[in-house]
């Protein structure tokens, strides 16, 4: 192949590539879920701005955290991507360098605007919809730049011509035929995931709230959430069809052959449909079980599609690179240190988070209203629940719906 693919780094792989793939899949799944919640949430916020203010407020409260974790969970997949595919990723990044670096100010603008909205929406309600539109625009542009760069990283045959024409990296690629279908395949699921967030919210409201207003808000949340999921499913099917048409014959053939690629793709679709059906069925139920099951199925679907995405990358880059043949100059000690730190960190954070959330819920119950970062009265211990999850007589409802 006549393409200027750089040689693999002289330090080789630090551990067998399968470990790096596994870590990448795990963290990229978390990144995608956070990204989809944030992007879809911002879009739904804009769409619901006038008619469903409770939903806009819910996403307005969650968006800064969504941004925060989409960035945080985005770091390790990029780290492991660079460890295995650095020679492709760095090259394509330079080719679109001006756009790639503009991701940083765009994210600062979107993330900063999400905090600005949350902190000022009550004091300065005018033009907040414009702020939300800025957040949506920033997220969609950043998404397109990411997809553009990563699509270009799969096409070393396009690199030299692109670099000779635009050495300043001031032009995105449009030569990759799957580009726009690929973009839709990443953006549309955001509506699905944010719809799922609304279904979960509705389920939580129904589970805890007793007031008519809260039940009504739950109903609205469920309706909008399901609608978003159904629309996203239809659009995703169309985007997948478009992608199927424009991918190279060899890749299509690999899908048709069966094996891990097609099985995981089918599993991803089935899990997604399962999530939709479970979300649908959770309507009107007082328990949260079905909604939580739906959310888990969704995460499973995302995980399957993350692996499919990487298998496709391996197929695209097969003529240039095979990770399995790359020399490993092991750093097992550091790898073990990382796993240990990660395990301790996750347990530590899980305990702290569980305790703090318990206190927050208790305080919200005590105050009889959502605190949303505002003073919520004297903290009270978390309310005890019966085994069936029903409120005890006289127990006051939470009001997450007001957030």
């Amino acid at each position: 192949m006549n393409a200027p693919v750089p040689p693999f780094d002289p330090l080789g792989l630090p551990v067998t590539s399968s470990f790096l793939y596994a870590l990448s899949y795990l963290t990229l799944t978390l990144h995608f879920v956070a990204m989809q919640f944030t992007v879809g949430g911002a879009i739904l916020m804009l769409l619901c701005w006038r008619r469903q203010p409770g939903i806009a407020r819910f996403f307005g409260t969650g968006l800064p955290l969504g941004f925060s974790y989409l960035v945080t969970f985005g770091i390790p997949p990029l780290l492991f991507l660079q460890t295995v595919y650095g020679q492709f990723f760095y090259s394509s990044s330079v080719l679109v360098g001006a756009y790639w670096i503009s991701v940083i100010p765009l994210v600062i603008v979107g993330y900063g605007a999400s905090y600005w909205h949350r902190m000022n929406r009550d004091a300065r309600p005018r033009h907040q919809d414009v702020v939300v539109a800025i957040i949506v625009a920033a997220l969609l542009i950043v998404g397109f730049i990411f997809v553009n760069n990563l699509a270009l990283s799969l096409r070393p045959d396009l690199w030299l011509r692109h670099y000779a024409a635009y050495p300043s990296g001031n032009t995105l690629t449009h030569g990759e035929p799957t580009l726009y279908a690929r973009y839709l395949l990443f953006v549309v699921p955001a509506l699905f995931t944010s719809g799922m967030a609304l279904v979960l919210r509705a389920s939580y409201l129904r589970h805890r709230a007793a007031t008519t207003a809260a039940r009504k808000e739950a109903e609205t949340s469920h309706t909008v959430g399901l609608r978003a999921m159904v629309v996203a499913t239809g659009l995703e099917a169309m985007a997948a069809g478009w992608f199927w048409i424009v991918i190279p014959d060899a890749i299509r053939g690999a899908f048709a052959e069966g094996g891990a690629l097609s099985m995981l793709a089918v599993a991803g679709v089935l899990l997604g449909v399962g999530a939709l059906l479970a979300a649908w069925q959770s309507r009107g139920r007082s328990g949260m079980g079905l909604a939580v099951l739906a959310a888990h199925l969704l995460v499973g679907a995302v995980a399957c599609l993350v692996i499919v995405r990487d298998l496709l990358r391996q197929l695209y880059l097969e003529p240039y690179f095979e990770a399995a043949k790359t020399p490993v100059l092991p750093q097992w000690g550091m790898f073990a240190a990382f796993l240990t730190v990660m395990l301790i960190g996750v347990v530590f954070l899980a305990i702290l988070t569980e305790q703090t959330i318990r206190g927050l819920v208790g305080a919200a119950d005590g105050a009889g209203g959502a605190n949303d970062g505002k003073p919520a009265g004297r903290p009270r211990p978390a309310p005890r629940r019966t085994r069936a999850g029903h409120r005890r007589p006289g127990q006051r409802p939470a009001s997450l719906g007001k957030q």
Binding site: P76, Q355, T356
Partner: protein, 456 residues
């Protein structure tokens, strides 16, 4: 040579890295030092008779702290990573492959500090007193661990010590000669910046008596650190490579005459801004009403300028390498800089060019792009038009051959035709039309001077 060079007109890729890094260093050090401040301020507030008022102020501080560090600090941190990929992919690849799990550990710390900060902030009204104090302390501990980790990678680039490409000794590279002095220095800087960031929020306190107490508490963070920073700076200085020290103290004769004294200027800048911060803090301590929002921001701005000086010094001290003694700033591996390889026609070894004809300005432009553009621009930052103003074709042709002799430039890669093409291109930037063939034809034969062999 293995990667394309991001050819940014006017400012250059290196300056983009520097701008993002300078902005990030201020906020990232506040993010760590501010954690210690929160922890001790929580303890302090709870011993005061008016603890609710002080905690109300502390809530304002933590709101500023949360938004500023998570939005601007975290994203500019990612920005450094993005920009170094573009400015020096070869070096980034080296760092990633050597320190991938150190970076991954730092990510766990980052995830931890972020989550703990949210638990602290959003649980402000519902967390018990001991829990809130524990969370503040945990935040600081975790944030400092992230500094401990990233400091090893940063100092590795300037003082890799006994690490080599062959031994790949991660302990030697991480705990390198500059590690502990830099860690101590950064720890002091973060305490100082924590105090300065507290001034910004304290400036809005209306009650003079309360303001005076907060200013006094914040000053205790600035004053000892401001005194100790020069001590740790000296320790850092004592661990620098000998040639970096020489470069800083003596300066180097530049291309266009004069001396390259930017490093000594950077030292002066850091010293001057440090003194101003000290004087400003003493003023606030003696006259708390002098602390206005403008004055507090000016103090942070002064610190930002000082950090800019220090960061430029650190970057310049690495000249001409990006990883000292291992990889030149234009991505030439030191191990590949043998006389025989250096004399080969450059584009036959480079990957990223459309194979322009020999002895043309077009070929010269591609040589410029692949060898020079990672540090220089044509007519902006580190302008080559300005630096070659006094050049004749003959001088340029000969100078390129020994340009590494003064120790601040990498060796030229390529044969006589490459040098002639580059000279013709550089002179064409000032409107001069020179035929590269003519340069080669009229040039006296000059055996390549041996490389300066600047050893770290």
């Amino acid at each position: 040579m293995n990667y394309p060079v991001w050819d940014v007109p006017g400012i250059g890729a290196g300056l983009i890295v520097a701008i993002i890094a300078i902005l990030h260093v201020l906020v990232s050090h506040i993010a760590v030092g501010g954690g210690a401040f929160l922890f001790l301020a929580e303890l302090w507030a709870r011993r005061q008779p008016d603890k609710d008022r002080i905690r109300a102020w502390l809530k304002r501080y933590v709101t500023f702290f949360l938004v500023y560090t998570t939005v601007f600090g975290a994203i500019t941190g990612v920005g450094i990573w993005f920009s170094i990929q573009l400015a020096s992919p070869e070096a980034t690849s080296l760092l990633i492959h050597q320190f991938v799990f150190a970076w991954a550990i730092e990510w766990v710390a980052f995830l931890g500090e972020l989550t703990v900060l949210y638990l602290y902030y959003y649980g402000w009204d519902s967390n018990s007193e001991p829990r809130q104090i524990f969370l503040a302390g945990a935040y600081f501990g975790i944030a400092w661990i992230s500094l401990v980790v990233i400091n090893g990678i940063l100092t590795f680039m300037l003082t890799p010590g006994d690490w080599t490409l062959d031994n790949r000794d991660i302990a030697a590279g991480f705990l390198n000669p500059g590690y502990f002095s830099a860690l101590s220095l950064r720890t002091m800087v973060m305490f100082l910046l924590a105090g300065l960031s507290a001034f910004v929020v304290a400036a809005r306190v209306d009650d003079d008596q309360l303001k005076a107490r907060i200013v006094r508490f914040a000053s205790y963070w600035v004053l000892p650190a401001a005194v100790l920073i020069p001590v740790f700076s000296y320790l850092f200085w004592s661990r620098l490579p000998a040639f970096s020290v020489k470069l800083a103290t003596d300066g180097v004769v530049g291309l266009a005459g004069g001396k390259l004294e930017v490093m000594s200027r950077a030292i002066w800048l850091a010293g001057l801004t440090g003194s101003l911060v000290l004087l400003g803090t003493l003023t606030f301590l003696l006259r708390p009403r002098a602390l206005t929002l403008g004055a507090a921001i000016a103090m942070l701005g002064t610190a930002q300028i000082g950090i800019a000086g220090a960061e430029f010094f650190r970057e310049m001290a690495r000249k001409p390498y990006v990883v000292y003694g291992v990889l030149y700033s234009n991505s030439l591996w030191v191990r590949d800089a043998t006389p025989a390889k250096l004399r080969e026609p450059f584009l036959s070894r480079a990957r990223w060019h459309p194979d322009p004809p020999a002895l043309t300005r077009e070929r010269g432009e591609w040589i410029y792009r692949l060898q020079c553009a990672s540090c220089h621009t044509r007519d902006g930052y580190r302008s080559l038009t300005a630096r070659t103003e006094q050049w004749t074709p003959e001088f340029g042709f000969q100078w390129l051959e020994t340009m590494d002799a003064n120790g601040v430039m990498p060796p030229f890669q390529g044969d006589a035709e490459d040098r002639a093409a580059l000279v013709a291109y550089l002179l064409s930037l000032r409107g001069k039309t020179i035929d590269p063939t003519e340069i080669v034809r009229t040039a006296p034969p000059s055996p390549r001077a041996p490389s300066a062999e600047v050893k770290p």
